[in-house]
Symmetry: C2
Subunit: 454 residues, 2 copies
């Protein structure tokens, strides 16, 4: 065997379908959105938790339907070396709700209740890749979980958080559409429909855009409703409900305890959200909001951008009776929302609503005119950073023009120019990369000009 | 078949060995550390990138040694449904360097060079669980990558970043120990030792605490050095080197081009770091810093806490000639550091250097005395949040004492108390949970008192 050293061949690299990765500029847009979401969650006094990416497979499949179970990624060692020692199969979490349920059940004795937590994290699903679907994506969840009970006023928090966050993002006007599942369920009870039919109907209603006629047809043919019942269901879902008096709008449909409870809870939630500062025009009661496949049992929310209804709901959620029933005998009712960041952000960028321009406009590049002045460049850089100004120093041998282009390409707002002439005068030149003009000043003046205020 | 509804059995939950998860209090300590690291990285003008958790297996194994390859977690669908369709095997990244190399090779035409990036992310290794070893852990990496070339002054940045970050953490005094691999390599060249021997020696030197005698013994028995060579190697590694004139301290050992280049580069780096504001007493040249198993080719760094030397290096790194040689014909020299957050933070907490007390001292709990005043509680909460004060509202029916305990347990600094008496006077009571005293004031005074300054 020859023992010459062989250079390994180059391995081809490229994107993996369903696993998005961004340029630094687009990453900065994502980061800006995530910061605003996190700040909004934190303003409510919520605490962050971080669960591992990995859970036991039986925990993940405890409540998952067949569709999701098929999509779970299990782990195996690339080269198994433990000689077949049996261990619990491990797998990647596919959402943040199952890990929250497991976390609450596992650590219940250590947590203060109501437990307000947020988690912003990547989750994995082995879906068939298709447009707008990812196998790795970011969810940003906020939940309030009670132990034994949770007052219905807790349900007024999510609309307030949604309002705060999307207001801070400045992506245009939006409306938070609320309903309460007990209203549709009460109606189904009155119509003597069973639970399976109710579930099917919620899923059908949830598919907006079916159109009234088609929906009635499906209710009759698919669910087996009478045509009278089908019409009543569609009329109910389309009912115009006054946010200040939801009970009054329901005249003909009441006389069902569940429906009445749903309407009265909805009234409490809407008034609570108004008191929490959500502008009236951003709240709407919409009985066609059904969240068909989800496990909600009371209040439900969806959020739509007025100018971009085709984005669908940008933040959804609701109230659930018992978060951790698979993992604990105790009951943990809760309410929560989730923002599907990976799905929303690329579409907001594409629509021109979010842009990356000027993400780094407070940044400075200290350019290099001559290697002899390197000690000055280093000291300047250090002084600026200590004053809180993000500062990069250029150290390759390139012309000033190329260095300025480099700074502009990175979206930096300023460049500092310093050569022997400036050294002699004990001044520097500050170039404003947005305006193109430049000013001579002392280092102290430079720091005073660029230091973050406050 | 009976169609009664069966309640599923409770699934046992518990920790998974090697996959740490924290209480909200400990998570807050981690978050505080990560924020400081990120702020330090950003002050250098570095941009954040985020690569997927998943890479193609052949990318991950391109450079990994056998030990690491055994530890890679590959993915498989929990229930395979694609009928054996062959796809590239996917696996979880085990560090942030391989993904950086792949990212730079793949996106080189879109990136500005020198490319300064940081990435703070979880990585996975299927190690046998043992104390202080994790299967999922956080790395916080900072690198500067050139295209074709990267000036040696770039190597002065990591010590400045390390100094800035650990200074901001306030975890006591530390020293950054520097060396340059070419110095030991030059010595080995002079001693006519081959590359394999050199590698073995670096690994041995790296094991501090072997003691001089034992080290000499191993060099002779294990590497096959003559006893004269072994002594010379140990003397060299223990040499006291003046940080202001490393070349002068090497009198007897010079006359080797590689060694001299190493010493002169080291001098440039140390002077650069001093100009960048690293205090002299935090820099030390230590030729026994060898980073045995790593792929560094020039400057190398380690950082130790003076009062906790047993923690080992809390931040290490170095210069590498060619980051992406497995993935691109172009050369990408770089320099970088990594902070092993998951390993350090628990030990700093255990040693009492980091603590979670008062992480939320700016937080307020608006307590609930009577349900009739709920609209006032909601409005107060909204006003405080809008003024930037993180505020939680209590809405369960519990006594005031229990509510105050809840707030104290969460580490909140303040509670607002408001009942019918206060309502009549148009005042509120602010209780300081640290001091235990309380004050009557108007809502406007409350906001003025708690609003974040600046």
């Amino acid at each position: 065997m020859p023992d010459t050293i062989q250079k390994s061949p180059i391995i081809e690299v490229g994107p993996i379908s369903g696993f998005p990765e961004h340029s630094p500029e687009v990453q900065a847009i994502f980061d800006g959105v995530l910061e605003k979401i996190e700040a909004g969650y934190r303003r409510t006094g919520a605490t962050r938790i971080e669960t591992p990416h990995v859970e036991r497979l039986n925990v993940l499949t405890a409540k998952a339907g067949g569709e999701v179970t098929k999509e779970i990624y299990a782990l195996k060692r690339a080269r198994e070396s433990e000689g077949g020692r049996a261990t619990d199969p491990l797998a990647l979490k596919f959402d943040l709700t199952v890990p929250l349920a497991r976390y609450v059940a596992q650590h219940q004795s250590l947590l203060p209740f109501p437990f307000r937590r947020y988690q912003i994290d990547k989750v994995h699903r082995g879906e068939r890749p298709q447009a707008g679907r990812y196998r790795e994506f970011i969810q940003a969840d906020f939940d309030i979980v009670g132990r034994g009970s949770l007052d219905v006023i807790a349900d007024a928090e999510p609309p307030a958080v949604i309002n705060d966050i999307f207001d801070s993002m400045g992506i245009g006007e939006f409306v938070i559409r609320l309903s309460n599942r007990n209203m549709l369920s009460g109606l189904f009870q009155n119509l003597r429909l069973d639970a399976a039919q109710g579930k099917r109907i919620m899923t059908l209603i949830d598919k907006r855009g079916l159109g009234t006629e088609r929906l009635i047809e499906e209710l009759i043919l698919d669910v087996g409703c009478s045509s009278k019942d089908a019409e009543q269901i569609v009329d109910f879902a389309n009912l115009h409900v006054d946010i200040d008096a939801p009970e009054d709008s329901l005249g003909g449909y009441c006389h069902n305890e569940m429906l009445e409870k749903g309407a009265s809870d909805l009234a409490t939630v809407v008034q609570g959200a108004l008191h929490l500062g959500v502008p009236r025009e951003r709240l709407s009661i919409d009985l066609s909001v059904a969240r068909g496949l989800d496990y909600y049992t009371g209040t439900i929310y969806e959020t739509t951008l007025l100018e971009h209804p085709n984005l669908g709901s940008i933040c959804s959620g609701g109230r659930y009776d018992d978060l951790a029933s698979s993992f604990s005998h105790e009951s943990f009712p809760g309410v929560g929302i989730s923002i599907g960041v990976s799905r929303i952000v690329p579409r907001l960028i594409k629509s021109g609503i979010l842009s990356g321009v000027r993400q780094f406009e407070d940044h400075v590049l200290v350019t290099k005119l001559t290697p002899e002045l390197m000690p000055d460049y280093l000291k300047m850089t250090s002084k600026l950073r200590r004053s809180g100004v993000p500062t990069e120093m250029y150290f390759e041998d390139k012309g000033l023009g190329q260095q300025i282009k480099y700074a502009a390409r990175k979206g930096f707002g300023y460049a500092v120019i310093f050569g022997p002439d400036e050294k002699a005068k004990d001044k520097i030149i500050l170039r404003d990369l947005n305006e193109g003009d430049q000013f001579e000043m002392t280092i102290e003046q430079l720091i005073a000009a660029l230091m973050p205020k406050g």
